[in-house]
């Protein structure tokens, strides 16, 4: 690989020293041990959050004591979430490679993989922000007909709250439509289905959902910040193969965030689609 040439050459004595320094009773480096302990403890953090969510899901089939209060699958956007899930899984792959690179002493490769992890992490976060925004504002499905200058008539459906913001306000809808689809004038539209917005306050489901996924998102954000700091630090020249352990524990944290998402994706998102 061409990339390997950019990595500085290394002395085998260094490797020996690293091994000698990390000698402990258990044979596990202190930093690695403390990270695993933290992750074990973090299981209880997320366990409590997920328990809260599931208990209320079980208690309130409608996400709220009141029937029909929350349209959960209507609110969710499973394509987007699946995409985010995929991105997070792949970021884990890159993270594993970044750690691997440090164990080879390949700083340059470490930088590239880490950059990838950060990028994917940011995409995930972006997806979450987008998702939260949409959930918060709710969704509407509309059927419309429009004509263009040539008088041709087209029709379709749209899942877009923005354009048809207010069914009563035809003028605004027309202007919005023209803005989105140039040259087409809206002639007719009607609401097929509307999913009300989901907020922290308006239902128990909203509270448990946002706080749980928000806590996960905060974990991702901290991970991104951590890796980003490490990436910047690597340019100071102080990040040497001795710091492989530091990268490894950041990696452990990152993978953990990934496995928490594996659980959340299943028990919070996917199960909602099962028809009982």
């Amino acid at each position: 690989m061409a990339s390997q040439t950019a990595n500085p050459p290394l002395d085998d004595k260094l490797l020996e020293e690293i091994h000698a320094d990390s000698h402990t009773n258990t044979g596990i480096e202190n930093k690695k041990l403390i990270m695993w302990l933290f992750l074990a403890s973090d299981c209880m953090f997320f366990g409590t959050l997920i328990s809260t969510h599931l208990i209320y899901r079980k208690l309130y089939p409608f996400g709220h004591p009141q029937e029909g209060a929350v349209d959960i699958t209507g609110t969710f956007d499973i394509e987007l979430t699946s995409f985010s899930t995929f991105i997070l899984l792949m970021s884990s792959f890159l993270m594993a490679l970044a750690v691997s690179a440090m164990h080879k002493g390949a700083i340059e490769s470490f930088r590239r993989y880490t950059f990838g992890v950060i990028l994917f992490g940011l995409i995930f976060l972006g997806g979450q922000v987008y998702e939260f925004q949409h959930f918060f504002h709710g969704q509407g499905w509309y059927e419309w007909t429009a004509t263009n200058a040539a008088g041709e008539e087209v029709s379709g459906t749209e899942a877009n709250e923005g354009v048809f913001h207010d069914v009563a306000d035809t003028a605004a809808a027309k202007a919005n439509f023209l803005h989105e689809h140039h040259g087409y004038e809206l002639t007719e539209f009607k609401e097929l289905k509307k999913v009300p917005g989901l907020s922290l306050q308006n239902s128990v489901f909203g509270s448990t959902f946002y706080v749980m996924t928000g806590t996960h998102g905060t974990h991702v954000a901290i991970g991104v910040l951590w890796l980003f700091s490490m990436l910047i630090y690597s340019y100071s020249g102080r990040l040497t193969p001795r710091n492989a352990i530091d990268v490894e524990i950041a990696g452990l944290y990152w993978h953990f965030v990934d496995i928490v998402w594996i659980v959340i994706f299943t028990v919070v998102y996917l199960v909602e689609y099962i028809e009982l």
Binding site: D21, S22, T24, I34, F38, T52, P65
Partner: protein
Amino acid sequence: MSATHVADPHHHHAVADKTQLAPEKSHLGLTRPDRHSGIIDWLTTVDHKKIGIMYGAAAMFFFLVGGIEALLIRAQLATSENHLITAELYNQLFTMHGTTMIFLGVMPLSAAFFNFLVPLQIGARDVAFPRLNTFSLWTFVAGATVLNVSWFFQFAHTVGWFGDSLTIMGADQPLSQIAPAGGWFGYAPLTGREYTGIGTDFWIVGLQILGIASLAASFNFIVTILNMRAPGMTMMRLPVFTWMTLITSFLIIFAFPAITIALAELMFDRLFGTNFFRIENGGQPILWQHLFWVFGHPEVYILVLPAMGIVSEILPTFSKKPLFGYPIIVFSGAVIGFLGFAVWSHHMFTTGLGKIATAAFSLLTMAIAVPTGVKIFNWMGSLWGGRIKFTVPMVFALGFIWMFMMGGFTGIMHSSAPADAQQQDSYFVVAHFHYVLLGGVLLGLLAGLYFWVPKIFGRMPNQKLGYLTAVLVIAGFNITFFPMHYLGLTGMPRRTHTYLGDMGWDLWNLVATIGAFILGIGVFLCFVNLAWTAVKGPKSPADPWDGRTLEWSTPTPVPAYNFAATPIVQARDCYWVHKHGDKKMDYQPDDGHGIHMPSQSWWPLLCGFGFALFGTSMAFYAAGVPFAGYCVITGLGLVVVGIYFWALEGPGGYHLEPPHDGEAAKKPTDSPVATAAH
């Protein structure tokens, strides 16, 4: 870890006193606060012994605060229909009394022992992460400050220092009730915004910060115990106190997350209008109870296991026998720890758990009494046939066994759900948990203080005063709490501000109040004795009790590096065996590099300061006081800055050379056979 090589590539001449070394710059280019003595040294120290002493001092201060709160409660209850203090203040007093005693009294005093003793007992020079240890200390202090600063604001408000300014400032919540008043377990929906004021916010944030401190400390101690043991110190040779520290630390890291999340959810309910526990929108207050006790029951073992560890060290020492059934004591400690996670609902029998759940939790609670009983039998076995010396620590330790056992008996009574339905929320429960917590835990901790203070300060406490204290504390305690069994069974509810005169409770309440003041005098005398010892007490030899474990083999006062040469452990009770048996301790040879010492740091202190600012402003932010939000962000910002600088300054480190006055300096100072051994 790698610091050994990084910090000091060209090994300069090492000296025994750090203040004589040239100052060192950190990676940030700032001078490390390594070379000071006095106040800067204490504020930035990473020495587990100094950290332990500070934990201990803070704990004793808060014992006094919590004790005064308790005496006020008892004064109010001394007679029927008393109006010494208002009902509102009464609520604040019992809330803060419970919270203070548990989180700011017992836990930090246990932490003081963890810190001072664990590295010494395992033959290590420090904990695994010295700066993290400092961080735990200051974060604890921050949390304690946040909780108690509410008293200050409450007082200022009550006497009218602020006039109406807090309300005029735009606070959208009535600010008359500023100190927490929701009980130590803060049951929903009482903690909702509709029912309690910013006291609850102080309580939430204070506990959150204390949780961070406990979690950080526990991670650190688990790594220390698993990874930093001297050669030959296998797990089954660990002193029992260290074992109990390990188990307690595991309990903390698995139990605290539950309350952290529950508190966060409650905070969201109060601040952002979520519906976790708000019944009007479908929240379930019962869920709070579950989450609280998922933490709460392990918490009671977090409180008691360290005391059990202490007693397990003291009894064999003064019976001149090895601990009876060491592996079984360790194993039952672990079983208690594990089962402790499976009994929480016994605090909720009367909420209607359903028949199966009630039966299951009832049985599991009875089961947990078995390993507890096993321990008691083993302690009795350790005494049996021994040459018992009734020293002060021993008297306290024996008091522990007896009082704790009584608390255990009432515990088993509670474990039967129908019986508990009668006892729940009555003074009977108050009697139960004071027998385990005060008669048990506190007596154990006091025993530990009298036992190890000669090592900690190098001075002997006054023994006569010690015996007097023991008598006052144990007698006062029983006079206070034994009548409460009777009060409870005749129906006196707990957390009652006052009671009518014709209930037949007057006499025993008066007795309890008198007992409480005797107890208060006893505890106060104990602390006076210890304070006096620290400055004026007669010098103590390094091994005044003919000890069994490694900490007694160090010189007194213990040098910064603990062990001039790392001991090689040959047996359980290795120092005892070394002195009186056939297996001598050996020492690792000097590698000529001097002793590597970790550098001190300002940053953990900055984090603590940030947490204190964050917590206090958070409560005012919740009340809607303007600009409080900026203070919250500033506080958090300081924490982040602290963490970054801490990460970037590099671990550093310097080398000390112990004095070379012959081989003897490295060997245990007053071991009769040490010289003969070589």
